[in-house]
Subunit: 403 residues, 2 copies
């Protein structure tokens, strides 16, 4: 359903809602052992399934394999086909950069060029984070562009974010990364030819020319490629839409970035483990009423084809579930942003396991949290954007539609 | 989901996809014996169901009984509520007429008028195909209209297609067939009053006046009625949309016509039986990567209320399934275009049995291909237009949406 309708029905309440995301949760059978969820011993998740309404969700559309950005927008109730968020925007948000309306962020990958300007390494020999930071500082102090602020922010190793800020900038600029070595970087060109887009392309071209000179004496990171260059247009936030005060607990920049888009207060307490994330949840429990907790490794291991790793993460987090339930949340939704079956070593289009626990959730007959058991679930297969309205409804936060 | 989004994600691949359609597949219980699928012995379809993800699809919308044209458009991924294809267009495509953008085709039924111009037989005494062809030739050589080409093509017995070709013609003309004897044919009038539509109506009126004179001495086919008169607007093809090279294997003109609309190469090898169709599949297997195979008789027998006939066709085609599977297709979808329950003797709105077989389809617990067993399927009930995206996804032919 449309976010606008849900927003109109939203009413304030004291209830607390939790969205626990196992990134890449859905799987496929692994050589007869079932999916990772089926092979794992997850007594707490199974028990919660027995006290929930269960099913699946489709993040974007049937057959469509989502990237992490659109998949999370869907979980947060934003139609990912309507709200298109570029990689540059996510990267900038992920490092806590205070993006403003009209900014043009891009993802930066440092790379190595040979004497003829041909890319020999698209990741600059995977330079360390220290070296990456040094390169960023070097560029930041040297590059000046008339009338436009440029902010280069280091992310990790060979990665950074570049943000242009100025009047009349457009978006939709093609990647300069040719996605292969043995080729020179591409010039930044607008996808649609408008004066605003041309201005952005011209500023970026100037930036890259200056950067080439500044980095000429570097051995590895002697150039940079830009990707996902687009105008930032803020989303309406959870506060504005639903009277919610949301918090995000994640380990990775990308997920912090996308939750910041929704207006979430990103928790930065030096967390490094899944257990740390649950500790933060306990710590800030009284300060917010919507909590997004993001578990990354289920996806990473799926991408690596590491079935055992997926099983292990599921079991590890399963043991943390009682800490969540001890807080007596009013609504708990557990799902993934998409499937990442280890036999496919990548994201996939398959529907994602889902359960919603709340006093009035209408429990079904399912008593295990896995791809086979959930087929008998009471939710059936819903669209990802319907999860938030169902959480709000179960939390008593949606008023009656019409008289 | 919108076809445009799926098209943007489409990537080329070598995989081969097969859509096997049993026309009118879905059924209802027949006096306690179950549906035709339940009563039939279909071990190969059952076995394939055990190695597939299964469920149902709804071709147009809940409660809507589709005609064959819209139902097939849906199977081919075109929203039948958006792409309206007139009966005239389908009739012309079905006889291999090379329709071009801007043509106005109509379905022609020869009929018998009495001396007062009242219809006494809407099918002209069911004249033979030889006589139908003679009438068509007679009209074609006699009728001339200034500035507009008219093409009259014989279809079968009392049926033909009339195609107007010329500049500035509109569509949306009301049928001249009053759908009952004892009335005169209706004049061709535009549904919406535009100059283009008026021009088409006027040309058709001229044509009909001339035809009445030319056929005045005929005993049975002394007039013609026009139906489904509309402008032909080509659809975007599978080649354009999905990097597919599609082939259609069917016995009846209507299904050849609708598959030609999607850009399919219609196979014409004199096929007359279901077995012939599988032989053609084997023969052209290396030349295409998407194959639509259409089995007609399940629908014809359903329309006749012939339950045994339906059972027999299902069993006959079931025995041919190994020939399909021996080709090692990457993706096989088996379904119908709509339901045609024999107790109803006609098309119906009921969801249509569906299975999709592929390496990564996420098998469910279903091990039989029938209306009761499929209720436990992993697909649930999807929209007909989602079948093609799922086939593409399972064939590795859809890239990731967003970062």
């Amino acid at each position: 359903m449309s976010m606008e309708i849900v927003s109109k029905q939203a009413i304030p309440d004291e209830t607390k809602l939790v969205l626990l995301i196992f990134d890449g949760l859905g799987g496929l059978d692994n050589e007869g052992r079932g999916t990772a969820l089926e092979a794992a011993q997850v007594p707490n998740l199974d028990s919660l399934a027995g006290d929930s309404v269960t099913g699946f969700h489709i993040p974007v559309a049937p057959g469509i394999t989502p990237g992490s950005g659109p998949a999370h927008l869907s979980l947060f109730g934003y139609d990912p086909l309507k709200y298109r968020i570029g990689r540059g925007v996510l990267e900038a948000l992920g490092v806590n950069f205070d993006l403003r309306e009209g900014d043009v962020p891009a993802r930066v990958n440092f790379c190595t060029l040979d004497a003829e300007g041909i890319i020999t390494d698209r990741r600059a020999g995977r330079i360390s984070s220290e070296e990456g930071q040094r390169i960023v500082n070097k560029l930041s102090s040297a590059i000046k562009i008339e009338g436009v602020e440029t902010h280069l922010v280091h992310v990790k190793e060979y990665r950074a974010a570049l943000i242009l800020r100025g009047k009349g900038l457009g978006g939709g600029i093609r990647d300069t990364d040719p996605q292969a070595t043995g080729k020179p970087p591409l010039p930044p060109t607008p996808i649609e030819d408008t004066p605003e887009n041309r201005k952005t392309a011209s500023v970026l071209s100037d930036y890259l020319t200056q950067a080439r000179k500044v980095l000429a004496d570097e051995e590895r990171a002697n150039m940079l490629n830009l990707r996902g260059i687009d105008l930032f247009e803020p989303l309406p936030t959870f506060q504005e839409l639903y009277h919610l005060s949301p918090a995000a607990i994640a380990l990775y920049p990308m997920y912090k970035g996308v939750s910041r888009l929704a207006g979430m207060t990103v928790q930065e307490h030096g967390q490094e483990t899944n257990s740390d994330e649950f500790e933060i949840l306990e710590k800030v429990w009284n300060d917010f009423d919507y909590f997004f907790i993001h578990i990354k490794k289920t996806d990473s291991y799926g991408e690596d084809g590491n079935f055992e790793g997926r099983v292990q993460v599921l079991e590890e987090v399963d043991a943390l579930i009682p800490r969540l339930m001890n807080l007596s949340p009013d609504v708990v939704a557990v799902t993934g942003d998409h499937s990442t079956p280890s036999p496919m070593k990548g994201h996939s289009w398959h529907p994602v396991p889902l359960m919603i626990h709340a006093e009035h959730c209408r429990r079904d007959i399912v008593t295990a949290f896995n791809e086979t058991a959930l087929l008998a679930g009471g939710l059936g297969t819903i669209h990802g954007t319907d999860i938030l309205p169902l959480m709000l409804a179960n939390g008593g936060r949606l008023g009656k539609f019409g008289a």
